[in-house]
Subunit: 239 residues, 2 copies
């Protein structure tokens, strides 16, 4: 099994994706929101790129079935039901509901890799479940950190590195690239203190400045659910 | 001073380059060759992208003044004078000569960042001199690993990380990005054994397989020269 991680979030060549399992990672906070919402009973998540698209998409569904969630500049969008903190996505609000989600980096990333053989949402919340699913699928793997407005993202790469570390310990004959080896080393540096990595990262700093510091410790929780959200035909549902 | 490192070697937006010092890094082996050749008395290096361009360029100069150097598939090119091992670029061969150089990654990288305010060739050979030059210039910095055929390169990023580490220790108030912080962590992992990093890297492995293992230990030598090769108007000369 060949494991790579793409450090910058541009659209990969679709021909290289069709044979691989892709894990999209945006721990601060889109994929943490997605995993959390589905674990709390949300029916499905529809990731869209723009605010306008979110409002348009909502018109396709009966009133009361659908919530609008997401952020711009890390803050809740005017007219939306929910922001981009996983702590908001609890059963009382999301159970049985569809969530249309738009965020700066994460929701776009799913569309960038939509031609992947299987496209999964990864976060620290569901590390163990992702590892088992990737090993069950047995395909080559590409981790896809969503980045920080096109730039390399420390926290997403630490999460990718943790997945790589766990898979490499469980499976013989894993083939790592220079990038996946580097992500693993980065994870090993922060494995005893993920929040330290978040606080060093540009995006973590921005969240603290905007009053979302509590989300950092929340998003650093490991293995709190076995949900494997999978993106297919524009929609994310539990596998 | 803001320090960034670009993990994938695509051409950056020229407008972001014009205010920055750029350090191109291809330790295995183009920038090691460039630094070594100039330290041994080569007059200048002309980096070109293709073999054909190298032969054409050579016709512009009087016979006996110019050497052709470089590689394809790590091996010396037919009809060329020198390959891509820094050990070949010694005074007896290169002193007073112009070298037209074409390699798979490194020589292209100089053209990708040619709009930089100052474009420098970095390697382990001239780490200390590069640090002093960057501090003297006082501009924001972009390290530009040449990559491995478009992919992320471990060994070049370790070298970038060493430069970042030294600059951050010498200068107050350095602003690091997630990428430059990661490169520094990667360097700290390998600082006691650079050859280990080379041997783990895809490109280092390829060089070993092709019989160039001795180049790994050679290219891992730190601070053997004070030369700062600078790229200007298509030509690299000592600053």
């Amino acid at each position: 099994m060949h494991i790579d991680i793409q450090f910058l979030p541009f659209s990969p060549d679709p021909s290289t994706l069709s044979r691989r399992t892709i894990v999209v990672i945006d721990v601060l906070r889109a994929t943490s929101v997605i995993v959390h919402a589905i674990s709390q009973g949300a029916l499905e998540i529809i990731p869209v790129s723009t605010v306008e698209e979110a409002f348009q998409m909502a018109k396709n569904f009966p009133p009361g079935t659908t919530l609008l969630g997401g952020e711009r500049g890390s803050k809740k969008i005017e007219g939306f039901d929910l922001g981009n903190s996983p702590r908001e996505y609890i059963a009382e609000k999301v159970k049985g509901k569809r969530v249309i989600l738009t965020t700066t980096n994460g929701t776009k990333a799913f569309h960038s890799v939509s031609s992947g053989r299987e496209v999964i949402a990864g976060s620290f919340f569901n590390i163990g479940a992702i590892v088992r699913r990737c090993l069950d699928l047995g395909q080559d793997l590409l981790f896809f950190p969503s980045g920080d407005e096109g730039r390399f993202s420390l926290e997403d790469t630490v999460c990718g590195g943790m997945l790589i570390d766990r898979i490499a310990r469980e499976e013989e004959g894993i083939e790592l690239t220079d990038a996946s080896r580097t992500a693993r080393i980065l994870y090993q540096r922060f494995k005893d203190n993920l929040v330290e990595a978040f606080k060093l990262s540009c995006h973590g700093n921005d969240l603290i400045a905007k009053g979302f510091e509590d989300d950092l410790a929340y998003c650093a929780q490991i293995d709190i659910t076995d949900i494997v959200p999978t993106f297919w035909d524009g929609v994310i549902r539990a596998h």
